[in-house]
Amino acid sequence: MTKEIFYFLVFPGLLFAGVLGGFLSWFDRKITARVQFRQGPPLFQPLYDFVKLLAKETILPKYGSPLTFLLSPVFALAGATLAAVFILLPVLGIESGFSGDLLVIIYVLNIPSVTYIIGGLASGNPLAAVGSSREIKLILSYELPFLLVLTSIIIKSGMTINLREIIDVQIAQGANIGSLSGIFGFITILMCVQAKLGLVPFDMAEAEGEICDGIMIESSGSVLAIYKLVKYIMFLTLPALICGLFFSGLELSGINILWSILKVLLVVLLITLIRNTNPRVRIKQAMRFFWVWMNLFAVISIILSIIGV
């Protein structure tokens, strides 16, 4: 039991994922700033943001449900940490996980998005309601291609639904990204992760210029701080999942640490570049993009992995 609590709270859960995710979000902001001719934040800025927000007053919305509004960030944090534990344990090679953990990961990864929606609706703000409705549509769009890509990976790895075994197969036979089906799958999952993280071009749930941060509009103080922490954790978890599925996992021993860091940074760099070279699309366009193009890519990936390319 103590081991599980340690996993959840310290490594690779809350503390580890929060700190490393904060670093990755700093990396993202620094690269963004450099692309935009700006100086960018200092290294500890994510920490400063988090601590400052914790110290600020939390304002409860007048026309909402305060309990739901306050609980949803807690559930979001729990869900994100759980996802981090389930993904990082096998990806880092600490524990082999259990049979079928990929299915659990699919569910757990959705908890933060769902709590955003609930929190947004509970705030009683019309702009948050618009944001929530957009987030729902977004989940409906990216979830299917995400599942299809996972199917393609599962077929490729000999019908195993255990993340560690998928990584082991890759270590034995070469990383999934090296094959044609892997490339199609990688493009698809990168877009899905972009949408899951709520970054441009799929940030319409928070669209600052249209609905002033949408689902987050009423969050303040510690509520916003916890949402920020959730974002940090997701910023590590999702790239780590991509590394596990396509780059034969991460390792924490010897010189391999450097490789692991490079892999994660590469994925984050791609995500950052995509968000800096695109405007926000309309929700309709995003849905069409995922349902037509990304599903097509994912299906191609599945067909290719059945053929064995």
Binding site: D203, G209, P279, I283
Partner: protein
Amino acid sequence: MGKKTIIPIGPYHPLLEEPEFFKLYCDGETVVDMVWETGYNHRGIEKICESKTFEQVFYVVERICGICSTSHPFAYANAVESIPGIEIPLRAKYIRTLIGELERIHSHLLWVGLAGHFLGYNTVFMWAWKYREPVLDMFEMITGNRNSYAMFTIGGVRRDIDSERAGKLFKVLDEAEKKINLLIGAVMDDPVIHARLKGVGTLTAKDIHDFGAVGPTARASGVDIDVRRDDPYAAYDLVNWKVITAQAGDVFAKAEVRLLEMLESIKIIRQCLDFLQKNPEGEIKAKVREIPAGIGIGHAEAPRGEVFHFVKSDGGNSPIRHKIRAPSYTCIPTFRRSCIGGTISDAAIATAAVDPCYCCTERMSQAYDFRTGKKLYNAADLIRLSQQKTEEIKKQLHKR
């Protein structure tokens, strides 16, 4: 139709640089009706102008808007100079034209940046504003200020541009042109921007005529109007340039018109600098003894469209009536055609596409009861109330 929700854009909103209130009545994501509320920015500029001398009014109208801070003095100068019928020196005409066109470049770059920001494309925002810097540097070299240039005066301009400085300006202009070309390429060739802006907020030529919209908003819908060509002032009839129009009328066409106009402006500035360098000597200010009684009308093509100033003089040293009509005043109401029926995301960029300048627009305010819609006070009532209040305070002070 289901229940309508009011989605507020404003009074404080990241989309608007100034306090302003757009009420979007939405059915789901679709905008079914839209109402515009003003009155947050009223400063009584016209009344203030009546208490200043003709010379001082320049610096007041310059502060109507921080972005098009030369177009208002331009139109005012045209208005005042038309009362005695002053012909300003050729050199002053060229310098005025140069300042006006530099302002157009910096205003359009600012708009491109903001439009990028509204689309969540912050890279374009930062790049456009970075590339705006050389233009502001040029302003600083010429006038000493990056904004609010205090360059105009009755009968001419206040500062000269010597040939040495003109040479330096050429260099900065070349640098700016390169960057502007880069930005134009980046914006016009981006497929995602095309997907996002084409067919959004479309205004037909009929809509433009119905609302009397002006400037790039009108030109993007194929309405070929431009004060600089239709009623030339300053040196616009002496330089070689052309009016940019587009036919589509959507947000992309408006962006296209603005981007290409910048290149025309660079062309005009080159010719002005060339003239100033070749003719280094010359008066920059005509002597004006007094402004006789009469009315003066002046207009100028601001970056957003036609600015109109009406000045009435009784032969004294200050205008007895000063009326201003800014371009946004007719451009903003076009949202009734461009936004209704679209989605919230489209409404946001379509309202921003006319480059609204709210502080320019607010000329009069009235207070309404928000439940019944009954008129409570108009400007005169508010002044009367204010005076009553002052009287009461005075009385209380005397009692002590």
